[in-house]
């Protein structure tokens, strides 16, 4: 544990130092790269929250990809039909919640194998959205909000305070989730249900209700991530639109050790490597084939994990059905 901590801080310090160095060399590019890291990383971080919320209460969610795809779809076409980005975002969140409820229903009420339940959501979302898609629609998108005063700060202004509303909501949400999970009664109960549902039950916590609630909230967070992709970042929707982000998010959730802050850091690290990868190709400083440059984020993730290592442990009751003991 100590080793891990020191490595974590060392890496952070190193990144700050490198960023500072490059900022002194070229402020425009450095600010651009770091803010791009956030844009790359945020949807992944939010999607990882979906996994964390579910798994902390003992439900495995491999259906994040499906939730993102479906909610991005519903969000885009609702925004298009109502001509309102706000309704679009709301619809996406509702669609995400619905997929959460479906997962909860299959895995809690019907006690289906949880990985199968998630896989069903993925295939269903892919097939359904692809079937229903019609091209030629446009939708209003959320517009960038520069936070007054704060956005004027050099470097930090561009990196943190010149984004669309979902970025701000998403970032705040991740902090809120972290605090809620580790510093509130709800969080304590949720984690207890994820570790020792039997004891939690004995202590008067309704395992059934809490799991339902958390998996549904997780779906809503996934809906927000979907809305970010289709209504804020890209401004369109297409078949297979999410391109595996739900699965990358699973990896980042584990990378971040089922902790919202950890997953945020993992997603930002992954986003940063993507942004740096792009910059390497933009500036054509190094003459290596693009295919190898494109591999960098994935290789670096493995390397960092291999160095930092240490055993990760998922919540103990994850993937298990809970049967209330009959006295």
């Amino acid at each position: 544990m100590k080793k891990l901590l020191s490595f974590k801080w060392l890496l952070t310090l190193l990144l700050v130092a490198i960023t500072g160095y490059f900022y002194s060399k070229d402020g425009v590019i450095t600010s651009s790269v770091v803010s791009t890291a956030l844009i790359f990383g945020l949807p992944l971080a939010l999607a990882a929250m979906v996994g964390i919320m579910c798994e902390r209460t003992g439900i495995v969610n491999i259906g994040i990809e499906g939730t993102l795809l479906f909610s991005a779809f519903v969000g885009f076409f609702t925004a298009s039909a109502t001509d309102s980005d706000f309704y679009g975002v709301v619809a996406a969140v509702i669609a995400g919640t619905a997929s959460g409820v479906l997962l909860a229903f299959m895995s809690i009420s019907w006690k289906m194998d949880q990985i199968i339940a998630g896989t069903i959501i993925n295939i269903l979302a892919t097939g359904l959205t692809s079937f229903l898609y019609k091209q030629g629609h446009t939708a209003p998108t959320t517009s960038q909000i520069d936070i007054p005063w704060l956005s004027q700060i050099p470097f930090f202004g561009q990196v943190l305070f010149m984004h669309g509303p979902i970025v701000y909501i998403g970032l705040v949400l991740i902090f809120v989730l972290y605090i809620a999970l580790f510093h509130t009664a709800w969080g304590l109960r949720s984690r207890a249900v994820g570790e020792h549902p039997g004891s939690a039950d004995t202590a008067g916590v309704s395992v059934f209700k809490l799991r339902y609630l958390n998996v549904s909230i997780a779906g809503a967070v996934g809906g927000l991530a979907g809305a970010y992709l289709s209504l804020e970042l890209v401004g369109s929707w297409d078949r297979g639109f999410t391109a595996g982000k739900g699965f990358t998010a699973l990896a980042l959730m584990i990378f971040g050790r089922w902790n919202p802050m950890g997953a945020l850091a993992a997603a930002m690290f992954f986003g940063l490597t993507q942004a740096i990868t792009n910059q390497l190709m933009f500036s054509q400083i190094v003459k290596i084939p693009d295919q190898f440059v494109n591999m960098l984020p994935y290789i670096l993730t493995i390397v960092v994990l291999a160095i930092s290592a240490g055993k990760v442990r998922p919540p103990a009751a994850e993937g298990q059905q809970y049967e209330k003991e009959q006295a």
Partner: protein
């Protein structure tokens, strides 16, 4: 209790399915398919590359061309959407078994399968979109395009439009996909040509390729990469490559004052969300090329070898006011010269 929930969920799901699910009928009727193979009937079949006929790109344009040409000839047309590249040959076989007169195969990956089918079915005419035809079969014609010329022309336009002198090209797809590479390199050379002509110091066009599992299918990557370019002052960006490129176009549209350039078809219609920035597209006239080959098959002037389709910069549409008349004239001049070959694009074929 559980039963009621189940029923409710099922009903909701079905309602959701029924909503918006509209007939995806693959057939356009002028004559009936059952007539195919009889004297006087004219049937055109199209096999897509992996993807759908509404891909906003080469599958869609080729199908539009084939459909229109078949309708004009009073014929019948139908398509099959390929799921797996290993099915190219068997999908062609489905049309051949029904004695279709013309089979259009879309995409360079299908070149081998099409050449083999042309030998197997000597009475059927084959049109291979984006396929260089190296065979001598008289019933197989490759429809090819000089993507480098198309890229060069819009690059030239970009060289005149850029204020910051920084232009960029985002390729959805790796450099191992020939049309992608030729578009991108042509664009960069076009920008350089415009720079030299203006005696203006333009930065070498920055290019980025994307390889891996989702090379063509990651709009979010395209959008984020476009934003990264925009925040570094690049103001004219060419986004080429499937859904990845389309994502880039959509993101650039949200930046005031930036221009984006589409690819393959006039994306003004296919990617309407890009209209605020879409000044032009590097067009291959896929629909026109396919249509004229289908028409040749009908009137008997069809011959083998390769048919070079036309390329052009797509119309400026609403952004015409942003392009000075003098520049529009220059682009028209250069287009003629590039197409004629008097200005070489300098791109390795």
């Amino acid at each position: 209790m559980n039963k009621r929930i189940t029923g409710g969920v099922a009903a909701l799901a079905l309602a959701a399915l029924g909503f918006a699910m509209t007939p995806a009928s693959a057939a356009v009727k002028t004559i009936d398919e059952s007539a195919c193979g009889t004297a006087g009937a004219f049937c055109v079949g199209l096999v897509t590359d992996v993807g759908k006929v509404d891909d906003k790109s080469f599958n869609q344009s080729s199908w539009e061309g084939a459909k229109a040409a078949a309708a004009k000839a009073g014929g019948f047309s139908k398509y099959i959407e390929t799921l797996d590249p290993k099915d190219y040959a068997s999908n062609i076989d489905l049309f051949a078994a029904k004695k279709y007169n013309v089979i259009v195969t879309v995409g360079f990956l299908m070149a081998d399968a099409t050449a083999a089918a042309a030998v197997k079915y000597p009475n059927i005419k084959f049109i291979g979109v984006d396929q260089f035809n190296g065979s001598t079969a008289a019933n197989y014609s490759g429809l090819i395009f000089n993507e480098d010329k198309s890229g060069f022309i819009v690059g030239y336009l970009a060289g005149y439009l850029t204020r910051s002198g920084k232009t960029a090209a985002i390729a959805g797809g790796p450099d191992t996909i020939p049309p992608v590479r030729k578009f991108i390199e042509g664009f960069a050379n076009g920008v350089a040509y415009a720079g030299k002509e203006q005696k203006k110091k333009l930065a070498k066009t920055s290019t980025v390729y994307y390889s891996g599992a989702n090379a063509f299918n990651d709009p979010a990557w395209g959008a984020t990469t476009a934003k990264q370019y925009l925040s570094q002052g690049y103001d004219v960006i060419f986004a080429a490559g499937g859904k990845t490129g389309n994502g880039g176009l959509a993101a650039i549209a949200k930046k005031k004052g930036a221009y984006c350039i589409g690819v393959d078809t006039d994306q003004w219609g296919t990617v309407p969300e890009a209209q605020p920035c879409l000044v032009s597209s590097a067009m291959k006239n896929l629909a026109a090329g396919t249509a004229s080959l289908v028409a040749q098959a009908k009137d008997g002037s069809f011959k083998g070898g390769n048919f070079v389709g036309t390329v052009a910069a797509a119309p400026y549409h609403a952004l015409a006011s942003k392009v000075p008349a003098a520049v529009q004239k220059k682009v028209a001049d250069v287009t003629a010269k590039v197409v004629a070959g008097t200005i070489p694009t300098g791109v390795k074929q």
